[in-house]
C-alpha cells in the first residue's frame, strides 16, 4: 500500500543512542508510532553494545512530547532533536 503524506506535516530529524538489548529497535519504533509519528527514514549503526540511530520522522503533534517519551525508555541514553523543517510532499511505501 502506498500513502501520500500531508505536505504540511512537519518533519524532524532525531538521533538516538541506546543499548543494544533484545527488542531495542522495536521498542523505539513502537513509541514513535504510538505517539503519533511516522518514520520516513532510519539509519542504524551498532558498536560496542550501543545502537546509534538517526531518524527522520513526520507528525503533527508536538515533537517535544515524543522526545520526552523516548528519553523515558530505560535503554535510551540520549535523544537529540535537530531543528524542525516542513516536509515536502513525499511518498512513503
Amino acid at each position: 500500500m502506498t500513502t501520500e503524506s500531508n505536505c504540511e506535516t512537519p518533519s524532524y530529524d532525531i538521533t538516538c543512542r541506546m543499548s543494544h538489548e533484545a527488542a531495542a529497535l522495536e521498542r523505539l519504533c513502537q513509541v514513535v508510532r504510538v505517539r503519533g509519528f511516522r518514520i520516513a527514514q532510519m539509519v542504524v549503526d551498532s558498536a560496542d553494545g550501543t545502537l546509534n540511530i538517526a531518524l527522520t520522522i513526520q507528525g503533527k503533534r508536538p515533537v517535544a512530547m515524543l522526545q520526552s517519551q523516548l528519553e523515558k525508555l530505560h535503554t535510551v541514553a540520549e535523544v537529540k532533536l535537530a531543528a524542525p523543517v516542513v516536509a515536502a510532499a513525499s511518498r512513503i511505501a
Binding site: 527488542a23 521498542r27 513502537q30 504510538v34 512530547m65 520526552s68
Partner: protein, 566 residues
C-alpha cells in the same frame, strides 16, 4: 545455583514474601525451586489474569512490589490485561514468565509466543534473559526499576534452559542517583502567592510516591481548596474541610465548578486524563498551571504547564509546606466561595427512607461507608458501581480505594481484593462489583475458598451492563445494544458452589442488616444486591464534552418533559 534459584534469592533479598502465579511447562524449573523454599508464599490463582490483577491489588494496598508468575504462550498472554492495567495506573509490578528453550525460540514451538514483542507498549521495561549469568543482574535492575521514579510493571521473559542453567554470577546494578532540587520551586511558590483563586488538584501519584502524609501536611498548612482524580480519592482524608471531591466526567459539581473558575491549578501527581479534564479547550480556562510529577513526559502532554517540576513528590511537598507555613495564603474569599459550592454541589450522603423501596446504588454505598470499619479496603470493578463508590464512599486513605482508573478493567475487583487481603491480613477487604464485572473473573472465588480469605463480595446487580446502557440511553437515543444480562446465574447458588455463604437483598429495609451480616461473618461471604435496571450515575459529562456541561437527573427530567410537551 540455577537461574530459578537465583529468582528466589532475589525475592529474599528484596523482602518479597508473597507472589501470585500459575505453573506450566516452561516455568516448571521455578516451580521446582519453590518446592524447597517455603519462605516465599506462592498464591495459586485460577487464571493468569487473576494472578496479575491480584499482584496489582497487593501492590496498591501495600505500597510494595506486586509479583506475578506464569508460563509461556497462553500463560503469558493471559497476564497481559492485568499488566496493562498496572501500566496504566503506574503500579509497581514484577512479571516473570517462562519461555520456550533458547534453541526453540523462533521455531513456532509448543506454547511459544513473542511475549517481549507483544508487551512492549504495556511495560515500563522488559527483558529477555539470554543467559543465566545475566539473570541476577536483570533481576536486581528490574526490581529497582519497577519501584523507582514513576513506578510500573517490568517483565522478565526467561527461557527454560536459562532457568535450569547453573551460574555463580552475582547481581551488578547501580541504581541512578536522584536528581538535585529544582530552582523552579521558588517560582511556583511565588505564583501560588500571587493567585487569588488557586486550586490543589491531586491524583494517584501521591500514594505511588508514598507521600500521603506530606500531602496532608501541605493541604492543612495551605488550606487550599482541593479536588482529586479517581485515583486520588482519599488523598485529603475524609475529614478534610477543603476537599471538593472528585472532578471530571462523574465528578461533583463543586469540583468541576472550582476547576472552571480557578486562576491557578496546582497539579500534583496527576496526568490530566481525559476522563478528568473533559474537553481540554474548556478545562480550567482561566488558570495558570503548575505541574509537579515524577515523570517529565507528563508535562505539556495535554495541557501546557507554566511551571513544571519533576522530582520526588515527598520532598517537593515538604519544601512547599515549609515555604508557606509561616505566611498563610490570602485567599479567604475564594475559600468561602468553594465552601458554598461544596455545600450546594458536593456529593451528599444518599438515603432512602421508604423501607420497601428498591435499593439505589448511592444509598447502598452511603450505608456501606457508614457501617464498614475505618481500615476497610474497597476493591471496585468497573462501571456504575465504581462511580457510586467514588462519589459516596468516604475514604480516609488512598490505599483503601483500589480502582482500575486508566485501563478500566472489568474483572479487576475480585482478584485485586484477594491481593489486598494478602497484603493486609487483618483488614476488612470488600470487593464491590457489578453483575457484568463479577463474571469476568468469577473463577477466583476458588482462590478465596482455597486460602479461606475473609474477603466480602458485594454484587450490585442491575441485570445489565449499566454504564453502557446509561450512555446508550443518554447519547445514542436510547438504542440499547447488547447490554442485557437478565440471564445471569443465581449468584447466591454460585457462591455456595464454591462453599462461600451468600444472601440476597432487594429492599431498602434489608440494606443495613445485609451489610452488617457479611461484615460480621468470620470468613468470605457474598451479598447479592438487586438494584433497578434503569438507575443512572449522576452527574455525567458527555464523553468529549466540557466539564461545564454536566448533566444531572433534574436537568434531564426537565429536558424530557419539555420534549414531550413539544
Amino acid at each position: 545455583m540455577n537461574g530459578a534459584q537465583h529468582i528466589l534469592q532475589a525475592f529474599h533479598h528484596h523482602n518479597i514474601e508473597t507472589v501470585f502465579g500459575y505453573p506450566g511447562g516452561c516455568i516448571m524449573p521455578l516451580y521446582d525451586a519453590l518446592v524447597d523454599d517455603v519462605s516465599v508464599e506462592h498464591v495459586l490463582c485460577r487464571h493468569e489474569q487473576g494472578c496479575a490483577l491480584a499482584a496489582d491489588g497487593y501492590a496498591r494496598a501495600s505500597g510494595k512490589l506486586g509479583v506475578c508468575i506464569a508460563t509461556s504462550g497462553p500463560g503469558a498472554t493471559n497476564l497481559i490485561t492485568g499488566v496493562a492495567n498496572a501500566y496504566q495506573d503506574s503500579i509497581p509490578m514484577l512479571v516473570i514468565t517462562g519461555q520456550v528453550p533458547s534453541a526453540l525460540i523462533g521455531t513456532d514451538a509448543f506454547q511459544e509466543t513473542d511475549v517481549l514483542g507483544m508487551t512492549l507498549g504495556i511495560v515500563k521495561h522488559s527483558y529477555l534473559a539470554e543467559s543465566a549469568d545475566e539473570l541476577p543482574g536483570i533481576l536486581e535492575e528490574a526490581i529497582e526499576l519497577a519501584q523507582s521514579g514513576r513506578p510500573g510493571p517490568v517483565w522478565i521473559d526467561i527461557p527454560k534452559d536459562v532457568l535450569l542453567a547453573e551460574t555463580s554470577a552475582a547481581p551488578a546494578y547501580a541504581p541512578a542517583q536522584p536528581k538535585a532540587t529544582r530552582p523552579e520551586l521558588t517560582c511556583a511558590i511565588a505564583m501560588l502567592r500571587d493567585a487569588r483563586k488557586p486550586l490543589l488538584y491531586s491524583g494517584g501519584g501521591i500514594s505511588l510516591a508514598h507521600a500521603e502524609d506530606s500531602f496532608r501536611e501541605f493541604a492543612k498548612c495551605s488550606e487550599l481548596p482541593a479536588v482529586v482524580t479517581l485515583k486520588g480519592i482519599g488523598n485529603a482524608g475524609k475529614h478534610s474541610a477543603h476537599n471538593l471531591g472528585m472532578l471530571g466526567m462523574h465528578g461533583s459539581r463543586a469540583a468541576n465548578r472550582a476547576v472552571d473558575e480557578c486562576d491557578l491549578l496546582l497539579v500534583i501527581g496527576a496526568r490530566m486524563d481525559d476522563r478528568a479534564t473533559g474537553k481540554l479547550d474548556g478545562f480550567a480556562p482561566n488558570a495558570k498551571t503548575i505541574h509537579i510529577d515524577a515523570d517529565a513526559s507528563e508535562f505539556n502532554k495535554l495541557r501546557n504547564a507554566d511551571i513544571a517540576i519533576r522530582g520526588d513528590l515527598n520532598t517537593i511537598l515538604k519544601e512547599l509546606t515549609q515555604a508557606i507555613r509561616d505566611t498563610p495564603l490570602a485567599i479567604n474569599d475564594w475559600r468561602k466561595q468553594c465552601q458554598t459550592w461544596r455545600t450546594t454541589g458536593g456529593f451528599q450522603a444518599a438515603d432512602n427512607e421508604e423501607p420497601l423501596a428498591p435499593i439505589t446504588g448511592p444509598a447502598f454505598i452511603s450505608q456501606l461507608s457508614r457501617t464498614a470499619p475505618d481500615d476497610t479496603i474497597i476493591a471496585c470493578d468497573v462501571g456504575q458501581h465504581q462511580m457510586w463508590v467514588a462519589q459516596h464512599y468516604q475514604f480516609d486513605r488512598p490505599r483503601h480505594h483500589l480502582t482500575s482508573g486508566g485501563l478500566g478493567t472489568m474483572g479487576f475487583g475480585l482478584p485485586a481484593a484477594i491481593g489486598a487481603q494478602f497484603a493486609n491480613r487483618n483488614s476488612t477487604v470488600i470487593n464491590v462489583t457489578g453483575d457484568g464485572s463479577f463474571m469476568m473473573n468469577a473463577q477466583e472465588l476458588a482462590t478465596i475458598r482455597r486460602y479461606n480469605l475473609p474477603v466480602k463480595l458485594i454484587i450490585m446487580d442491575n441485570q445489565c451492563l449499566g454504564m453502557v446502557r446509561q450512555q446508550q440511553e443518554l447519547f445514542y437515543n436510547n438504542r440499547e445494544s447488547h447490554i442485557n444480562l437478565d440471564d445471569n446465574p443465581d449468584f447466591v447458588a454460585m457462591a455456595r458452589a464454591f462453599d462461600i455463604p451468600a444472601l440476597k437483598i432487594d429492599r431498602t429495609d434489608q440494606v443495613r442488616r445485609g451489610i452488617e451480616t457479611i461484615l460480621a461473618y468470620n470468613g468470605p461471604m457474598l451479598l447479592h444486591v438487586a438494584i433497578a435496571r434503569e438507575e443512572n450515575v449522576w452527574p455525567i459529562v458527555k464523553p468529549g464534552g466540557s466539564n461545564k456541561e454536566m448533566i444531572d437527573e433534574t436537568r434531564r427530567t426537565a429536558a424530557d418533559k419539555k420534549e414531550k410537551i413539544a
